[in-house]
């Protein structure tokens, strides 16, 4: 069969768990609070992963389980109610409280759905309480967002109105721009999930056409389908080509004439080509290795190969939803190794053996690889940066060309005698 070579691997992983999604979700919905029900490790994880020292009082916290809770000396449900009450008293501006399950709360089978039900009753609509799991035994990194959005789907009001729903967290500016462009295509009813105000939930129903902005929203998409929505499959809106095809899929669903699409998008494509060109000069012919982390790896690989001329050594992904990714897989060159899962040690051996020019990886691995002389790009930066849409293609390419340009700038000066020697071990 043509297309990429699909492989699987299992072993020790080096991927964030779903709790980490909180660090961008809480910025998207400033009136929401994410309460992790877990351990000190969970609390330490989100504070370290987000570098949250920068937040004075973040909109997330942890209800830390103690020995008393585990030994049954305290009723965990009563304790959770108490903590939630304490929190809401402190933060009266909170409108939606997410109870986020973790590894320990799942292992001890703490029923957060029941807790949410109980708290909803008590709070009588003043604050809405929902629950989902971000545990590392169930979810990886970006899947946490899928869980949070899936938890909101049952709360969406019903509507038969013909509308386009963009699903997945986008930077505000990017979202505005995409909605504006759809408007120019004649699609005027466009809403987003998650909304920027947690209480302003978009409606959903048989008239709803869904475009996923992120590739990791499998469960959310399934639930939206159950609510009658049509979920389009398209390449994801990363890079000019992917974004165009993604918008075209939406346009087609709304019977927008191809000539209209061309009128609106052709000039943008030309501009993107110009914006990409300097980065293409740096990236073309360079070899890239993507370690699994954000699940953006496939669309990114497609963009880097087709629009920036990079060679794909290996494309990792924490897990692969073949239906959702069918269009992305079809655009990858034949024989590209797509590795689902991870054995981090074996994968790093392959990185070293193949000596790529650039590696996309998690934060824990970046500096060790840099110290071995391998340039890296953090996966997490790709979920935080505004990279979606045709207009952002140049910025997206810049994220990858910058580490290489930086090497060219400083390497000769810092290593005057042995230009190819690793920095330090």
């Amino acid at each position: 069969m043509a297309g990429p070579t699909l492989l699987k691997e299992s072993g020790p992983r080096e991927v964030f768990c779903g709790l980490t999604s909180i660090v961008w979700l809480h910025r998207r919905m400033p009136d929401a609070f994410f309460l992790v029900v877990g351990s000190r490790t969970c609390a330490h994880l989100i504070q370290s992963a987000a570098g949250v020292m920068i937040f004075a009082e973040p909109r997330f916290g942890t209800a830390i389980l103690s020995e008393r809770d585990l030994a049954g000396l305290a009723d965990a449900h009563e304790e959770l109610d108490r903590v939630a009450r304490e929190l809401l008293q402190r933060r009266p501006e909170i409108r939606t409280l997410f109870l986020v399950g973790s590894c320990p709360s799942e292992v001890i089978k703490l029923d957060l759905a029941r807790a949410a039900e109980r708290l909803n009753e008590e709070l009588q609509g003043r604050v809405r309480v929902v629950n989902y799991s971000g545990s590392g035994i169930e979810t990886t990194f970006t899947q946490g967002e899928d869980g949070a959005l899936a938890a909101l789907v049952p709360l969406l009001p019903a509507s038969d109105e013909r509308q386009l729903l963009l699903v997945g967290t986008l930077a505000d500016a990017v979202e505005d721009r995409l909605i504006h462009l759809f408007g120019r295509l004649g699609i005027n009813r466009v809403s987003s999930l998650p909304p920027s105000q947690s209480t302003a939930l978009p409606a959903v129903g048989p008239g709803t056409t869904v475009l996923l902005t992120q590739p990791f929203l499998t469960e959310t998409a399934r639930l939206l389908r159950d609510r009658g929505a049509t979920v389009l499959t398209a390449p994801f809106p990363l890079g000019a080509e992917g974004s165009r095809r993604w918008m075209e899929a939406g346009a087609q669903a709304f019977d927008v004439a191809p000539s209209q699409v061309a009128t609106v998008l052709d000039p943008l494509m030309e501009r993107a080509r110009i914006a990409l060109e300097p980065h293409r000069q740096v990236l073309a012919g360079k070899r890239i290795f993507l370690l699994p982390e954000s699940q953006l790896e496939l669309p990114l690989a497609r963009f880097l190969q087709r629009e920036c001329g990079m060679e794909l050594v290996e494309v990792g992904t924490p897990y692969l939803n073949r239906d959702q990714m069918a269009e992305e897989l079809a655009l990858l060159p034949e024989g590209t190794p797509v590795m689902e899962g991870q054995h981090v040690e074996l994968q790093l051996d392959r990185v070293r053996d193949s000596a790529p020019d650039l590696v996309v990886c998690g934060m824990g691995l970046a500096n060790p690889l840099e110290a071995e002389g391998i340039a890296t790009k953090w996966s997490i930066e790709l979920v935080f940066s505004p990279i979606h849409g045709i207009d952002q293609a140049g910025d997206l390419a810049e994220l990858f060309s910058r580490p290489l340009r930086r090497r060219e700038l400083i390497h000769p000066a810092l290593h005057p005698t042995q230009p190819d020697h690793p920095v330090h071990a």
């Binding site: 080096e14 709790l19 004075a56 830390i64 103690s66 809770d69 035994i137 934060m363």
Partner: protein
């Protein structure tokens, strides 16, 4: 269940990783789910290490829980041993693995491995990072040395170097990765001891290998450089090998001198001259110089780990002439000595790991300078107070490229600069006082050197005084009262406002004018 928005310490297994990562040839197999690998970034990002910590995570998933997780543990142990061939293996579990009770340590010990295997039991639901680090160093040291423990009463003589015709030698115990400036402190203390003819035998855990730990009893004395990590190990070595250890942490001029006296006395050497600090460090003269007069009685709030908080309190009160108005720690293990240090200063120690309570205590104490962790730096910023960071938890800023020790003579120099620069310098403060009516000097003006900059009260930072009590008790500030209050430096204004209001209520006065302010001032000074 405890509501935590931010925490000073990680879980205990992070402490264990600190020990493993600090050492050579030690590998840690951690039974933990995916996500717990975030710990790696503490070392590779925050401490900017060029190596991953030597940890193999089993990263079990929900689907593994139905099957044989014990087999999963053994597979990872085997793979880790084959790949890394460590000299010693630590095996333990994180919080979730503790719940599923696989007992990975026992499993590994039953695998017939050739290297020493130390099983770590670190209760994740009751203990924290520093405790985990201390327990790991203790278990590892004990595991490696227990067959060498003398059967009879130990015959350790710290003065035996004299008979053996060699220089005295000591071990430095406690410095670790993610410890506050440990890398630089080790170099500084080594230099200090070398100047006094004392050799350093083993530094552990930072940079030590398994063979080094085995050599610990060959030294004459243990230096407990960082009690949070090394005290339990030092106590065990004293009990089983008779090795004494030092109690003073050499941070500050006085403590460095006391430390040298303690080391010399234990080793049977002539103690050094009390003048040494004056000759070797600039802190004493800088503090005595006329420019420092303005430091007199500056109100300082101190919060951090136990060792650094205690040291800071002593330096502030004895060497810089500050007034310590708050002292506390998040380390419950160090509560006793911190309480004692606070009591000696007429204070009640704040033992607490809720940063919001710390911030409230800070606001209440109305200090002019805060010495704290990175979180207190944020709290201080909100309150418009200058701050210097003296303690973990680590931030990438706390791992500077330059050498920047806290210990020894050079450490005292660093401390003088780091703690005093956030304040307005003396001459500058003096000139600003003289020109305070000049329009250029807006309210809350601070030095360009100050970390808090001019942000102070000038830029809409909430005034400490914005309390509800004004309305409740119907106290009215007259315009001239408000005007007088404005003349008071912003950092004590909240305190003065509260005092004035308390005084007004006490004397049954409803209106607070400039006269009331002066009355209150006289009342509280008296």
């Amino acid at each position: 269940m405890d509501l935590t928005l931010w925490t000073y310490e990680g879980p205990p297994h992070v402490g264990a990783i600190r020990i493993a990562a600090s050492m050579d040839g030690v590998h840690y197999v951690l039974h933990a789910p995916q996500g717990d690998t975030y710990a790696d970034l503490l070392f590779t990002m925050i401490e900017r290490r060029g190596q991953r910590p030597p940890v193999t995570y089993t990263t079990f998933q929900a689907r593994d829980l139905g099957g044989d997780t014990a087999e999963l543990v053994k597979r990872h142990v085997r793979e880790a041993v084959d790949r890394f061939q460590p000299d010693a293996l630590l095996v333990g579990e994180s919080c979730t693995a503790e719940l599923i009770q696989d007992q990975p340590g026992a499993l590994a010990q039953g695998m017939g491995l050739t290297m020493p295997v130390v099983s770590l039991e670190l209760p994740a639901y009751s203990k924290k990072e520093n405790w985990g680090a201390a327990e790991t160093l203790y278990q590892l040291t004990r595991g490696l040395l227990k067959q060498d423990v003398p059967a009879a009463q130990p015959q350790h003589d710290p003065k035996r170097w004299q008979q053996q015709g060699r220089r005295p030698r000591v071990n430095l115990l406690g410095p670790s990765l993610l410890g506050f400036r440990c890398r630089d402190d080790v170099l500084e203390v080594q230099t200090l001891l070398t100047m006094h003819g004392i050799d350093v035998a083993v530094v552990a855990p930072l940079g030590a290998g398994v063979e080094d730990l085995k050599r610990i009893p060959d030294a004459d004395l243990n230096i407990c450089l960082y009690p949070e990590v090394a005290e339990s190990t030092c106590i065990w070595l004293e009990r089983n090998f008779g090795m004494p250890f030092t109690r003073t942490v050499p941070i500050g001029v006085g403590a460095t001198h006391d430390f040298l006296v303690e080391v010399h006395t234990a080793l049977g050497l002539e103690p050094p001259s009390p003048e040494e600090g004056y000759r070797r460090s600039r802190l004493p003269w800088y503090s005595e110089s006329v420019d420092s007069t303005y430091l007199t009685g500056k109100r300082v709030f101190i919060f951090g780990d136990g060792s650094h908080a205690i040291a800071a309190a002593r330096i502030c009160s004895e060497e810089l002439g500050f007034q310590v108005v708050g002292l506390g720690t998040y380390s419950r293990e160090m509560a006793r000595p911190v309480r004692a240090a606070a009591k000696a200063l007429g204070l009640e120690a704040l033992i607490c790991d809720d940063y919001l309570k710390v911030e409230a205590a800070m606001a209440e104490a109305a200090p002019e300078l805060v010495l704290g962790t990175q979180m207190e730096r944020h709290s201080a910023k909100r309150l418009g107070l200058p701050c210097a960071v003296i303690s973990t938890p680590m931030h990438v800023q706390d791992v500077p490229a330059r050498r920047s020790p806290q210990m020894g003579w050079e450490g005292a120099n660093v401390i003088f600069d780091d703690w005093v620069h956030p304040l307005m310098m003396g001459l500058e403060e003096h000139l600003i006082g003289m020109f305070r009516h000049d329009f250029e000097f807006v309210d809350g003006h601070q030095s360009h050197l100050g970390h808090a900059g001019g942000a102070g009260a000038a830029s809409g930072v909430p005034d400490l005084s914005d309390g509800p009590e004004v309305d409740e008790d119907a106290l009215v500030w007259t315009p001239d009262g408000e005007a007088e209050l404005k003349k008071i430096p912003f950092f004590v204004r909240g305190k003065v406002r509260r005092n004035a209001e308390a005084y007004a209520r006490q004397v049954g006065c409803k209106e607070i004018s400039s006269e009331t302010l002066y009355d209150a001032k006289a009342h509280y000074k008296a």
